[in-house]
């Protein structure tokens, strides 16, 4: 709660030069109204996180709770010195980069189609929202069965491709398994991407496009010189949201491979340490590292692409 009372470099504070009773009352009311939500958010995230930080300094196995021993940062050293941690991080980064890149392209094509189409908008909106609303576990099962060797249709529909035959085992090797996981992730989340991009597309002024056309700009020129630059905010917000979401991938992997064939993600490794191996100390160290990675990632994306979320939200 102390965070609330700090004058968070707010421009609002300076604007209110004559401090009236009314503005004091408004200030107080505002803080009272947000207090329950803020306190609740802190209780459910900050508190467990502090607890994780504390536990990460112990060697602590739930099966032998009496052997709990303070080991300083040894868990972190073990994790960071283990090839598994880096392999898993690399997997997660690959999944994030590939899925977001594909989603961005496919999502943009979908958005273009939806933007221009004048018929059956309701049908299209409904269909595009179904992958968005479907449970991730269900999507993972649907795709697991799709790629199944005995019961899936991928092998029989695509056996004309040189590297696919009736007995292609998609879950038998690293890259095919990663491919199947990424397909399920892309299928489920592209609609969200395309809806965000569609909203961005609607902001591009038609007049500007017509002017460019009159001036003789080709379709590609209009796309890269007019449409995309004018949608920058929308694209960046979509990338930020999706990248951070993709980095936390867990459900698909749990359902489709259970981490076999080196398909574990960072979230999956953390889960496995805590729940399956009962290594609470080590698992907490992983939790803290995962949290820091996400934080770093968010910082990098925001900095790299100079996403101004407040501006993008019309927050000014």
């Amino acid at each position: 709660m102390t965070t609330l009372t700090t004058p968070a470099a707010s421009s609002a504070a300076s604007k209110r030069s004559p401090v009236s009773d009314r503005s004091i009352a408004e200030n107080r009311l505002g803080q009272r109204l947000i207090a329950p939500a803020v306190i609740l958010m802190l209780i459910v995230t900050a508190w467990p996180m502090v607890r994780a930080l504390y536990l990460s300094l112990f060697r602590y196995r739930l099966t032998t709770p009496d052997d709990r021993q303070f080991v300083w940062f040894r868990n972190y050293l073990t994790v960071l010195g283990d090839g598994l941690f880096w392999r898993v991080t690399l997997n997660t980064v690959i999944i994030m980069v590939v899925t977001v890149a594909v989603e961005l392209v496919v999502g943009f094509v979908f958005a273009m189609v939806m933007h221009r189409i004048i018929f059956a908008r309701g049908v299209m909106r409904t269909s595009i929202l179904i992958p968005y609303g479907i449970i991730t576990v269900v999507s993972a099962f649907a795709w697991q069965f799709t790629f199944s060797i005995n019961n899936g249709w991928v092998n029989s529909w695509f056996d004309w491709l040189p590297w696919i035959s009736a007995d292609t085992n998609w879950y038998g090797a690293h890259w095919p398994a990663m491919f199947a996981i990424m397909v399920s992730e892309i299928w489920k989340t592209t609609p969200f991407m395309s809806l965000l991009l569609l909203a961005g597309l609607a902001q591009v002024s038609e007049d500007m496009l017509e002017a460019a056309q009159v001036d003789g700009a080709t379709w590609w020129q209009r796309l890269f010189k007019v449409i995309l630059p004018n949608m920058r905010a929308a694209i960046m917000v979509a990338v930020l949201f999706r990248a951070l979401d993709a980095f936390r991938i867990f459900d698909n992997i749990y359902v489709m491979t259970k981490g076999a064939q080196n398909t574990e993600s960072s979230s999956f490794l953390t889960y496995r340490q805590v729940i399956e191996q009962f290594q609470l100390g080590m698992g907490s160290a992983l939790s803290v590292l995962l949290f820091l990675t996400v934080l770093l990632l968010a910082f990098l994306i925001v900095r790299l692409f100079r996403v101004d979320l407040a501006q993008a939200r019309g927050e000014g």
């Binding site: 609330l4 467990p48 189609v113 189409i117 609303g133 449970i135 019961n151 299928w187 979230s267 939790s287």
Partner: protein, 281 residues
């Protein structure tokens, strides 16, 4: 230009429909195959011999599999609805303040909500697993509802703040000038204006809670509080090398029905909620 693009648009339209609906059609088709058909191996898309057998098992309270599934459905609905209800109430208060009042720490709240929305939920699993056993919250409804607030609350605040900013609040004063009491102004002017936004935020929040998986498998141990996604992931049947494909597909279809109904009824609002304010500027 637009006329020439006609064929292209039709193709695009068809591609989007196939993309979105093919996997759904696949699980529906799979749910009508018999268990024997998939045990032998059945790579073709449509069932050889369509049957309702899987639905009869899963919707039968006296069948062990059906019993567990329906318990999980009840848990899923209960937990998602309560989590949604609570977060929308708190978020409405917060979003009203953010949209209408000038106070210190306003931007901080929005940034905090955003930061928490991006928080890796799996990081909570370890500490919560430990704490919940001490507080006797492990494997209970509140044990899931409380941590669900980490993602439902920021989402609701974010969506509602965007909606509330669009509301012409002056109308409240206008009504009062016209002689309405403040209660009447609130009841007749503000509530009807704010209700659609609140409702949309509730739908989106519900989707998130309905979808949650990590906490659901980590903080539960029996069907007493396991939600559908968790129950499905544990439902491998007697032979681990031969999962009951058809029953899993049937369960998938059944839990997708509420999603489809909500989408059909409120598609326009959901799209507005997803994108309102998310891209502006």
């Amino acid at each position: 230009m637009r006329q020439r693009m006609g064929a292209l648009h039709w193709t695009g339209f068809a591609v989007i429909l196939v993309w979105c609906l093919l996997p759904v059609a696949w699980i529906v088709s799979l749910s009508f195959k018999s268990l024997n058909e998939t045990t032998v191996g059945s790579p073709q898309f449509l069932p050889k011999d369509p049957t309702w057998a899987n639905y009869k098992v899963l919707l039968n309270w006296n069948d062990p599999a059906g019993h567990d599934f329906m318990r999980a459905l009840i848990n899923s609905f209960g937990i998602a609805i309560i989590a949604t209800f609570l977060s929308v109430i708190f978020a409405t208060l917060a979003a009203y303040a953010i949209a209408r009042l000038e106070f210190r720490g306003k931007r901080l709240v929005l940034s905090m909500a955003l930061a928490i929305a991006m928080f890796p939920v799996v990081s909570l699993v370890g500490p919560l697993f430990d704490m919940w056993r001490t507080f006797h919250l492990f494997n209970t409804w509140p044990g899931l509802i409380i941590p669900y607030m980490t993602f439902t609350l920021p989402l609701a605040i974010w969506t509602l703040a965007a909606f509330f900013r669009e509301i012409p609040w002056e109308m409240e004063q206008a009504a009062q000038v016209d002689g309405a009491t403040s209660w009447q102004a609130f009841r007749k002017v503000i509530v009807p204006l704010a209700a659609p936004g609140v409702f949309t935020a509730a739908i989106l929040t519900f989707f998130f809670a309905w979808n949650e998986f990590v906490l659901a498998i980590s903080l539960t141990s029996t069907t007493g509080s396991r939600t559908v996604p968790a129950q499905m992931s544990f439902f491998v049947g007697p032979d681990p090398f031969n999962p009951p494909y058809t029953q899993l597909a049937t369960a998938s279809v059944i839990v997708t029905i509420p999603v489809i109904v909500i989408v059909l009824l409120f598609q326009r609002r959901i799209v507005a909620g997803l994108t309102s304010g998310a891209v502006k500027g």
